[in-house]
Symmetry: C3
Subunit: 343 residues, 3 copies
C-alpha cells in the first residue's frame, strides 16, 4: 500500500513541507533511508542524516529548524517520536494475526475458552483455566491449572504460566517468560535448608508487558502483584511477594528481591538491584547498575551501589577518579607540615 | 478443611494464648489477614500488624512480648518462621499432584521409566534416559539422550536437560532452567574463534533446587557439579566445570565463571559475580552486586566490586560519600600551608 | 576406539616424550586423570598435577620444562590448548547426530526444507520459513513465519525465533535463547506508555553462537545485527537496533542497550552493561561488571561503573581501599595546621 505525504500529514495533524504528493510504502531508519520510505528525526544526535537521507519523507518535530537544505519532504508534527509510534501501530494492526486452534495442542476439558482465539500447536492449557476473548496463545506455551487470562492478551511461544496465576487484559508476554515459579524461600534446619512452599500466586493487571525470559515468582502467601501498565524488559527477576506500582518501567536484567514494594511511574535502568522488603517511592528514577539498600522517598533520582542522590553520586565519582592525585597531594602536605614544624 | 488452634498448637509443639477452639481453613499474610485464616509474625518489622490483623490465629515466637493487646489467638512456637514452613508443607502435600502420561508425549523406546510418574503433554524423553520413581515431568520438558533423573524429582514445564546430564533425587527444576548447554569455550585462531567442544556433563546431586531460567553449563571434560542441597534462585549462570559445595544458597542473577570452586554453606546475594578459576571457602557470605576477583578464605564476609571485607568496605564507602567535602578540605589545607609558608 | 601416543602426535604435529605406543580411549582433566585417558596442561597454575596425574598421556606446550619427573607420556605441541580443542572436535565429530523428522512436529506447508535435516518432536516451523541443508532443529523449537536458517546451523531444544528473523550458516543457538522478541520501546502518553511496534527483525550472520536463555530483540525498524563469528554466552541481553561487530565475544549476563554499536574483536567480561546509543570501538576489552556510559575509542581496556581506563581504575580503587586511613590523616593534618597557626 502507498500513502502520500498529504495523507500522512492529515492523519498525524501535521503540515507538509515539500512535495505533498510524494508517496511511501514502508518506513526506514533515517541513516538507512531509501526512496519510497518514511523516516523520522526525534533525537538531535541524528540531525546530520536528514541532509543526506534518501528517504522520501521525514517526520520532524514542529520546531525543527534545518541548518541546511533537505531534499526530502518534511512532515512537521508535535512530536516526531510520538507520530512514528502511531504510524507503526497502524502498520502493525494491518498485519495478519494467527487465528484458530492448531493441532496437536492440549486443552483440558474443564478449561473455558473465549472467542476469536489463537492456540498454537503444542500449547498446553490446564484444568479450569479461563481464557478471554481474542487471546493469542502461541506454540509451546504452558498455561497451568486454574490460570485466568484476560481479553486481547498475547502470550508468545514458550511462555510458562504456573498454576493459579492471573494475567489481565491487553497484556503481552514474550517468549521464555516464567510467571509463577516458586519464590526462593527456605528455612535453615541445621546445615540443610527446608523449603517453604509458595502457595500464593502472581497477578498481572491490565496492559502489562513482560520481556523475554523474565521471571516473576509466585508469592509465599497472597499475590506477587504487577499493577496496570507496568513494562518489564527482558531477563528481569521479580521475587515473591513483590508489588510493582502502575506504569513503572524496568529495563533489562534488573532484579527486585522479595517483598519489596515499588511505587508507580518509576523508571529503572538496566541491571539495577533492589534489596528485599524495601519501599521505593513513586516517581523514583534509578540509574543502570545501581543497588538500592534502603527505603527510597518519592521522586528520588539515584545512582551507585549502594545508591544515593544521583547528582551528588556523580560529584563523589569525579573525586574517585582523582584519588591517586589526591593521595599524593596528601603525602605532599604531610611532608610540608613536617618541614614547617621542624623550623 | 478446618483446623482448631489447639490442634495446630499440638502439631507444632506450641502453646495457645486465646481461644483454643477458634478454627481456620487457610493461611494469610499478617498485613492482609482475614477471619478464618492463620498468619505468622517472625520479622519484628511487621509487629504493628498483629494488633490490628483480622487473622483468627497468629503464630509467634515463644519469646514474643506484645506491646498492646491482640484480639487474635496466638500460638507460641520456638520459631514462627520454621512453624509456618511446616504448616505450608502440610498444606502443599495435601494438594493433588498430576499423575500418568499425557498424550502426545515422546518417550524413546530405550528410555527406562520408574513408577508413579507424571509425564506431561509435549514432553520429550530421549534415548537411554533413566527416570526414577515418582518423578514429575511437566509439559514441554526436554530430557536428552542418556539423562538420569533420581526419584521424587520435579521438572517443571519447559525445562531443558541436555544429553548425558544427571539429576539427583528430590531435585526441583523450575521452568526455563537449562542444564548442560555447552560451556563457553573458544580458542582464538587468527581473528576467529574455534569452538572447544564441551564433552563433559552436569551433575546435580540430591535435593538441589534450580530456579527459573537458570543455566548450568556442561563441563569441557568431566562434570560441572552441584552438590547436595544447593539452592539456586532464578536467572543464575553457572559456567562449565564449576563446583558448588553442599547447601550453598545463591540469589537471583548471580554468575559463577568457569572452573570456579565454591565451598559449602555459602550464601551469595543477588547479581554477584565470581571470576573463573577461583576458590571460594566454605561458609562465605557475599553481599549483592559484589564481584569476587581473588580466592576467598573460609567464612569470609565480602562486599564491593572488587570485593573485600564487608565492614571495612562499608567504612570505605562512608568516606566515598564524603569525597567532595574531603576534596575541598584538602584544597583548603593546601592554601593554608601556602599562607603559613609565606610568613 | 583406542589411539596410540605416536598417532596422536602425528595428528597434532607434536613430538612424543615417553612411550609412543601407550594408548588412550578418552580424555580427562589433568587433576582427575585416569589410566587410559589423555589430559592437557596449558595453564601453569595446574602444573603440579602433571607430576602425579594418572592420565597416560598429557599434551603440553613445546616449551614446557618439567620441574620433576613425569610418569606419564608427554606429547609436545605448539599450543596444548589449541591441540586439545582439535582433539575434542574430532571426538565430537565422531558422535552420532540426530537425523530425520520426528513426530509429532508441525511444519507449515509453505516452509522450505533443505536436505539432511533433523526436526525434533514438538518443533514448530512457520509459514514460508526456509531451512538450509543439514540443519538440526531440536524438540520444542519455535521457528516463526518467514524465518531463514542457513546450512549446518544447530538450534537446540526450546529455542524461539520470532517471525522474519534470519539465522546464518553454521550458527549454534542454545536452549532458551529468544531471537526477535519486541524491542523495549514505549512513548509516554500522560502517565501511561504507548507501545512502539517493533517491525524490524534480527539478523545473525554466519558462525554466531548464542548461549542459553540469551535474548536478542528485534529492531524497531531495520535489523538488530550480529556479525560473523560473534560468540554470546548465556543470559545476555541484546536490545533492539544493536549491532555487534565480527568476532566479538561477550561473557554471561552482560547487556547491550538499544541502538548501541559494538565494534569487531571486542571482549566483554560477565555482567557488563552498555548504555544505549553508544559506539564501542573495535578491539575493546571490558572487565566484568563494568558499566559503559560513553563512546569508547578502539582498543580501549576498561573497568568500573562508570568505566574508564583499567590500569588507572585499579590505582583509584587502591586508594578507595585506603579511604578511612586517608580521612583520618586529613583530620590529623587539619589539627596540626591549627596548632601551627596558633603559634
Amino acid at each position: 500500500m502507498e500513502f502520500q505525504a498529504k495523507d500522512i500529514a492529515a492523519l498525524l495533524n501535521g503540515t507538509v513541507e515539500g512535495d505533498p504528493e510524494v508517496s511511501v510504502n514502508n518506513v526506514s531508519k533515517i541513516e538507512e533511508g531509501k526512496p519510497g520510505t518514511l523516516a523520522f528525526l526525534a533525537n538531535p544526535k541524528y540531525e546530520h542524516y536528514i541532509y543526506t537521507t534518501a528517504a522520501s519523507i521525514v517526520l520532524v518535530n514542529e520546531d525543527f529548524k534545518p541548518a541546511h537544505e533537505c531534499s526530502c519532504t518534511l512532515i512537521r508534527v508535535k512530536s516526531a517520536y510520538d507520530a512514528i509510534a502511531t504510524l507503526l501501530q497502524m502498520y502493525e494492526s494491518m498485519k495478519p494475526r494467527p487465528k484458530g486452534i492448531e493441532q496437536p495442542s492440549y486443552i483440558s476439558d474443564s478449561a473455558t475458552l473465549g472467542e476469536d482465539l489463537y492456540v498454537g500447536a503444542f500449547a498446553y492449557i490446564g484444568k479450569g483455566a479461563k481464557i478471554g476473548n481474542n487471546v493469542k496463545i502461541y506454540p509451546q506455551v504452558f498455561i497451568g491449572d486454574g490460570v485466568v487470562i484476560g481479553d486481547n492478551s498475547i502470550i508468545y511461544a514458550g511462555v510458562k504460566v504456573y498454576t493459579g496465576c492471573v494475567i489481565g487484559k491487553g497484556c503481552i508476554l514474550h517468549s521464555g517468560a516464567v510467571i509463577g515459579a516458586d519464590g526462593f524461600g527456605f528455612v535453615p534446619e541445621g546445615d540443610f535448608y527446608k523449603k517453604i512452599p509458595q502457595i500464593g500466586n502472581v497477578v498481572l493487571e491490565d496492559n502489562v508487558e513482560v520481556g523475554a525470559n523474565t521471571c516473576i515468582d509466585r508469592a509465599t502467601m497472597g499475590s506477587t502483584r504487577i499493577h496496570d501498565g507496568v513494562k518489564l524488559d527482558n531477563l528481569i527477576q521479580i521475587a515473591h511477594n513483590v508489588v510493582i506500582g502502575r506504569n513503572t518501567v524496568i529495563a533489562a536484567q534488573s532484579g527486585v528481591a522479595g517483598t519489596a514494594k515499588v511505587g508507580e511511574n518509576c523508571v529503572f535502568g538496566g541491571q539495577v538491584g533492589i534489596i528485599g522488603h524495601l519501599e521505593i517511592g513513586s516517581g523514583t528514577q534509578i540509574a543502570a547498575q545501581s543497588g538500592i539498600t534502603n527505603n527510597v522517598a518519592e521522586k528520588s533520582v539515584l545512582r551507585g551501589s549502594p545508591a544515593f542522590d544521583l547528582p551528588y553520586y556523580q560529584k563523589c565519582y569525579v573525586v574517585f577518579r582523582k584519588l591517586p592525585e589526591l593521595y599524593s597531594q596528601l603525602r605532599d602536605l604531610q611532608k610540608e607540615i613536617r618541614e614547617l614544624k621542624s623550623k
